[in-house]
Symmetry: D2
Subunit: 482 residues, 4 copies
């Protein structure tokens, strides 16, 4: 592995020459930009052994390609144990960061493409699988971060890719050359893209015969010619630029999404993993989505652990931790959080090998997992706000605590339990603000709805896999029909 | 009425000489401060006839004291029709502003104190009621905004007011003088306090015999000597200071909460409405809370109307308004919103006259109303985010749209339905961000939990009023027991 | 009023010569049949002043036709107070019986037809309104029970009435004669029909131009030639025939539904209230449904009162009434029940006069009311079972308690709190069984879903009345669009 | 294995000479009693290979004691695969029977006692483990059905076992003799006890030092001297005695619970597995409960499969299977059901070996599993009733269909889709009645709340295992506290 640890990772980003826009301005040094750095800190944790005894086993694993120890984020799942360990790793990193650590999209993209390129070669006589393995070996050896980029901007949702007024609403091949292809389009909501060395593009939906140019998958360096990144805004984002860590709530970590523009970007053939095989495109989507829906049964559970801790701490700081309704609400938070974890574990332990050897999660249960994630974090968040109290949205700013005319009033009047420093109480309440309605909420709430596919996407899969005909047979037999 | 309309109201605020701190700095011109002005614009709507035909009847009413046309916000409810009209007025203003318009606390305070001062005089031989009527006449004639201030900072929640380490955790009388009293303490979460001419203080809980100094109610001008205001932060608050109305989402309106410090403030006797009658204090809390819990069945329903409209609009802009699951989710939003409205109406139409003539809401149903408000807005908000899509938290900033290097990409790739301008789509999505996780969420979500008392406060009342003994009798009779 | 009280009512039923089948056999004396009598006892309560001081005002009212005191069940609502009193009456009778008291369908039918016949005459030049008033005067004077019969059997739900394989799937006119019409078809789920003197038929859906024969409304005596009743089964129904009141749970009261067959029944013109005016048929359905959806905000709330009492009593009998989670669950039951009540009150107090003078409920809120009734009773029932314990479905029979070999064991081992007779504990648990999974559940649960229209029927109305265009305008104005 | 198949099992029951009371009468031939036989048919399925290819692997397994093929119901879990296969077996049998198949209590008792006797011997120097293995070998070899009997009648729930007015409210040792012990008391809610050859008694709660006589575990034959069984009633139970399979709904299968009285029953020492070791008693309860809470993630999911099939079938029979809201409701039923399955799988795959070698489920997740089972089946049931329509509780009886005067009406008017026989439609609707409010509901609803411990029991464990201190640390680290 070339990138050996968190610091090396951060340094490695400095070498990329990317075109990045933040709040309307081109950023020359994104690595130290206060809106981006917390997200980089998050990804850096994926390189960090930390102090948890189980971290080595969870974060690192033996490559089936090289036999070397590699980051699990670059690994192809070889067993259901690998699938389970992925979820455990995600819970661990969710606990460390309390937000999205952004490297799962690459991992989930690798595993989806690994099996589909294999099956595509079998079906179409193509040679994508070896090419993809070569790329993966590079990723494992260099230990780079790869943005698995799927979601197109989509234009009018009621129209197919080929029927849009503007043909570029889905990323497509605009030119085939001897040594590669030229692509155009944009990928939206690209979590962690500003922290990635590489971008791995996949189609966003099952393409039809007349949509072959949209059935394209490839990898490019993040600083390839023609690529532009535009950072999205999050609630309370600019607090990170105010020099007031208290007001940020989660001062060290954050997530981040960007819009990536591909303005006629050249991709050499050795980095092209699908190009026209429209009938294979649906499988990439389905598998990437399933892996990523599994992921939410780990990462969001880790965040949930922190929120439960925050609820408990806030209740202690305010002298209500032994009140029965508070105890009951925290129990409910735990119950909901562990239900999500159960779903993450279940779809993993019920996984099965694909013909390529790569293990796939149970697709029904992975969709069920994510579908619960579109619901329970909202209730957990509501309960957390209930316990924390209204102060969450009425607290003064850090600068008020620094103003000698006002600070004494705040020290006196914002005191909770006598033995708790006022500032500690403020810190946990600001953290709760961040998680329920600030930057953290973008990751814990909105992303929980829409990441890896909006709720309806899961319902479609759940219904498709429900095997209603079989279930009708059970009912008929018992009711003595026919 | 002295203050005749919105502009006059705004000008009237300029005359107040208050001590206000915002983000750590004393503000000399709060009226034009970008963090405060949207909240002022909200309150100004309470002076604005607007273009709704029903507004005259809802916003204005004949005073029972003077027979003159006064603002309903200064009126004592004379009938259940008045109670119902209050809710209708609140729904109307919620629709106009999509946030808290901040003047209800005063109205609810007037009505609570009107009946309690009457009953206190009957029970204790005091003379508060006439005094209070004189004050109310002043309020009606001048048409000033009054902050009904109840919530104390409370310190350690497991201790009574008299048992706190610092005796000032609840506002109290520190000195009784010939011409008035001196008070000390702080009121937290004071909605609209920076937009008020007057502050009307009430006790925050039922006081006991040894807590007479805490059983105090009075009114003071907002610029009285010894008063300091410290503005609380809200999610994404400083976007209002960036000069980017797009990113604010709801550019014109907002709400606001401040911490008010009473540092030995003098109050003349003619503005004192309770002073030591501890056994009357609980009634003030109970009645103010009930009126204010009723209020949520109006104002939040108005906000809900806007959110339903935003969901419908976002779905149209993205070409999904005829998809069955989207239609069904919007129907659910309407159902939940109208359930809240039903609760607001029911507790009003079941109101009854108090001995003072002032009408009181049905206390059970008012608590049921608010208790539903602690739940449904969260589900409405979740459904809204579901329909809006992930773009809500990944949109670029207004400044990106203004940068000529990036703007063309955004115009091209963020296009939804072909006939909808990109900027319109962005506007509604930013509005949804504001309402579900920005400033608007502070009012629509957190305040819906904690405003007018946290959920458990309602449960205690609901249980107390449930008359379980009577219900046991019904069950016994039917089951033939005894 | 001819029928003056409960006993007179029961006697009056004996005079009817009806064709009734119960469990496969024709019943000669339905009035004393153990499966029917508890339902008759329920209806008898509508004639019973009882011991509640408010009963006189709720159960009886001055007729606007005659000025005489008549049963509210035969009254045309003259004000919103009448609408509110209807709900209060229903809550009172729900408390008395803990089931459906079956006379509301007639009342709701009267009120729907009163205004529609008026408007039909205006639109079509017909003379139904006077005819209907004559009929109503007869009903009021005789104080008879009338089954408002709407739901057709419907055949294949995906086909219109005129497109069914069998044209009789919706009640229709098969012959028009000089002195009347001949009708054929069946009405399903006819609550209280075996306790009624008269049947008032209405169309079940909005008919189209080619469906004029289905747009028919009329009244006939329950013992008219050609009518057959077939009683439906309910869970645990035959316990009523075992001579074991304990096992019945609610030994005195019950509800009942029958299928009514109209096998070429003759109706004289003076009892025909619609015959071919297809464009008026939808209004009858809509209004009857709205009135009946309002009704659920009264009657089921009364049942809820009893269930809350049963929960409290069962918890006392088992020594757990002061446990915090039990207290909290009972509070939740109260909260849900009062929310339903709020909806019943709100749609009533927001009612408005129709051109006929008859008051109509607020249609949006009446649908919202019923839609909540399709949900909350299930949760109330679940909480009740939670508190009651598993004994609800594992209790021995009354006959075991009567067997001297076994009774001592039961007396010893089924003892709960020391001061509570075993049999009292058994009685309340059997009552809970009845209400959550026995006969009572048919009325409290299934009927709460499907009575007055299944959930989707309400959603369609709610969406139709939501005025989304107006709400879109609010959102646009605030987001500064256009 | 001595009992080789379903028929042999049924015959084996005839040899037992038991004292059984049903509806107040002693039953001489319980095996053919219509109230008991459906439950016997259920247990017989545990002996039936059936036609599912996976049944052999799920129903049978190699004994770790003898190496022989034994029923999984008599097996000690040797791995997490065993734990998972247990859940899969339960889902399979749930599908076959659509009710409780009653043999899990024995299996869960074996596994709990296996590890606790081992640990008890280590701690106390007792010799229970070998004794228990001998007993287990007998069970495996004879392949008998064993009732795992835990729940005592408990008397006043607010009092400890030793503090009850009657000391027999918990099963206890009343005499210690040279060759055995004499026990007295009763076990309530004994699922499957009338179908069992043996009764395996365990304590129902953690006993204290002064409660040693209550810390007792033993096995006795079901026909031991001094044992009396009294069958509990279930909703609609006597329909099984009417000779109308249609009205039963699920005509072949059922469950059953009895009260077992131990009136000074002698137990030889070789069948005593705990006697006075009070500090070990809590572990038995905790482990039995955890295994049994896992079980619900299998069996109820199998029932759920049938209910989903019933919903789909009913919708087809009525022509509404392609309506969007019906499709959506069925999708929701699947989602909820698979969530329960995920919980069953997760607690199994996260199981771990105890010192005895027996595998224990993950206790947190097993409790989370059951806790969801106390909620979701109620919503599944509500959705099923929604889709089925009100006919579920208004259908005529089978006897009406057999009466030639009435049958033609029913054939004509109860017809749904033209190509579906009326009787098929009736069968599925009666089945749905059974499952949502008849005998089937006792197992699917009430048992889902209270079986293996009431909801609060799970919440207590969930909170205890939540490790809030650790979670507080995560929150503190991120909020930079300390």
């Amino acid at each position: 592995m070339k990138i050996e640890g968190p610091e090396a990772y951060i340094e490695s980003l400095r070498k990329l020459e990317r075109r990045i826009y933040v709040l309307g301005e081109r950023v020359e040094n994104p690595t130290d930009h206060p809106l981006i750095r917390p997200a980089i800190n998050c990804v850096a944790e994926t390189y960090n052994l930390g102090d948890e005894p189980e971290a080595e086993e969870l974060l690192f694993v033996k490559s089936h390609l090289t036999g070397e120890r590699v980051s699990r984020f670059t690994h192809i799942h070889q067993s259901t144990d690998d699938l389970v360990n992925k979820v455990l790793m995600q819970r661990l990193l969710g606990r460390r960061t309390s937000t999205c650590f952004q490297r799962c999209v690459g991992m989930d993209g690798f595993n989806a493409l690994y099996s589909v390129t294999y099956e595509c070669d079998q079906a179409c006589g193509s040679e994508y699988h070896q090419r993809f393995k070569d790329y993966l070996r590079f990723v494992q050896e260099e230990n780079v971060v790869v943005d698995g980029a799927m979601t197109d901007v989509k234009g009018d949702r009621s129209l197919r890719p080929a029927d849009q007024a503007d043909p570029d609403m889905f990323v497509r091949v605009v030119e085939r050359q001897a040594d590669g292809i030229v692509v155009r389009g944009a990928k939206a909501h690209q979590t962690g893209s500003l922290n990635s060395h590489e971008i791995l593009v996949m189609p966003t939906t099952a393409m039809r015969e007349n949509e072959g140019d949209y059935a394209v998958s490839f990898a490019v360096p993040a600083d390839a010619e023609g690529i532009t990144f535009i950072l999205g805004r999050q609630p309370s984002d600019t607090r990170k630029m105010e020099g007031s860590p208290l007001d940020v709530g989660n001062p060290k970590y954050g997530s981040q999404e960007a819009l990536i523009i591909f303005d006629d970007v050249f991709v050499p053939w050795e980095r092209v993993f699908m190009c026209g095989e429209h009938e294979q495109s649906g499988k990439v989507v389905e598998r990437f989505a399933a892996y990523h829906r599994q992921s939410y049964g780990g990462c969001k559970v880790g965040v949930g652990d922190v929120l439960i801790g925050a609820a408990q701490l806030a209740s202690q700081y305010q002298g209500i931790d032994n009140v029965s309704h508070v105890r009951d609400k925290i129990t409910e938070m735990v119950h909901l959080n562990e239900t999500l974890f159960s779903c993450g574990i279940a779809c993993s332990s019920r996984g099965e090998a694909t013909p390529s050897g790569c293990y796939m999660v149970d697709m029904m249960l992975a969709n069920v997992c994510k579908h619960n994630v579109t619901r329970f974090p909202f209730e957990i968040s509501r309960l957390l706000q209930d316990i924390a109290g209204g102060m969450v949205v009425t607290m003064p700013s850090q600068k008020d605590f620094e103003n000698p005319e006002v600070a004494p009033y705040l020290e006196k009047y914002l005191k909770g339990s006598a033995d708790v420093p006022v500032m500690d109480r403020m810190k946990i309440l600001k953290f709760i603000e961040n998680m329920t309605m600030g930057c953290g909420a973008a990751a814990y709430l909105t992303e929980s709805i829409h990441g890896a596919g909006s709720p309806q996407a899961q319902r479609i899969v759940i219904r498709r896999l429900a095997d209603l005909d079989e279930k009708v047979k059970y009912a008929k037999r018992l009711a003595d029909i026919e």
